[in-house]
């Protein structure tokens, strides 16, 4: 039976993605890392996958802590997560690898976010893998991190 698994998710310094980092300043480099395992059959079949990385603010109260973004009309919409996707990625790195998205600064990752908790608060990262042309997928647990001024 073929499988895909995300054994861990973490935020990290892009220069040291193997070590979890739980606290960031807005100017710090930032990465969301997924540890992925698949069995060899998936690799040998030449399948590809879409990866989704996200950071979330679960405090969605418009009177206090919510994230939102401002439209060109001047209206706003609430935003509970920032999501990055990478599509049609091959398994060229084998059956056990890490895949990450990174930014020069944490602030870049939330550049379109408004609200008092844009650059401070406690948030979580998570991810998912969707193997195309198959029934296989995997989701990660949540990894909590902090941002402070």
């Amino acid at each position: 039976m073929s499988f895909v698994n995300i054994s861990a998710v973490r935020t990290a310094d892009p220069g040291n993605v193997w070590v979890p980092k739980h606290s960031f300043r807005p100017s710090d480099p930032f990465a969301v890392v997924l540890d992925i395992q698949v069995d060899n059959a998936v690799v040998e079949e030449g399948l590809v996958f879409d990866a989704t990385f996200q950071i979330n603010n679960p405090r969605d109260d418009p009177y206090s802590t919510s994230w939102y973004t401002v439209l060109s009309s001047g209206d706003s919409v609430g935003v509970t997560s920032v999501v990055w996707t990478w599509k049609s990625v091959s398994f060229q790195w084998g059956t056990n690898f890490a895949f990450w998205v990174f930014f020069d600064h944490y602030a870049d990752a939330v550049s379109h976010i408004s609200g008092g908790e844009q650059l401070q608060g406690i948030f979580y990262a998570q991810g998912a893998i969707n193997i195309l042309d198959s029934d296989l997928f995997a989701t990660s647990p949540q990894f909590w991190y902090k941002v402070r001024p």
Partner: protein, 50 residues
């Protein structure tokens, strides 16, 4: 029930809410930082401990 105009090509449904807002009301969301400040990378875990 909505009637389709004859001769008009089928329009592609917006894939995202941002596309929908832009298409239906001409409203844009603020741009996110992309390009050189963001990227993705992969590395094998072979040879690593833990």
């Amino acid at each position: 029930m909505e009637q389709k105009k004859k001769g008009s090509p089928p329009s592609k449904a917006p894939q995202t809410r941002a596309e929908h807002l832009h298409k239906s009301q001409g409203i844009s969301l603020p741009k996110r930082i992309e390009g050189k400040r963001a990227g993705a990378a992969i590395a094998p875990r072979s040879g690593r401990k833990g």
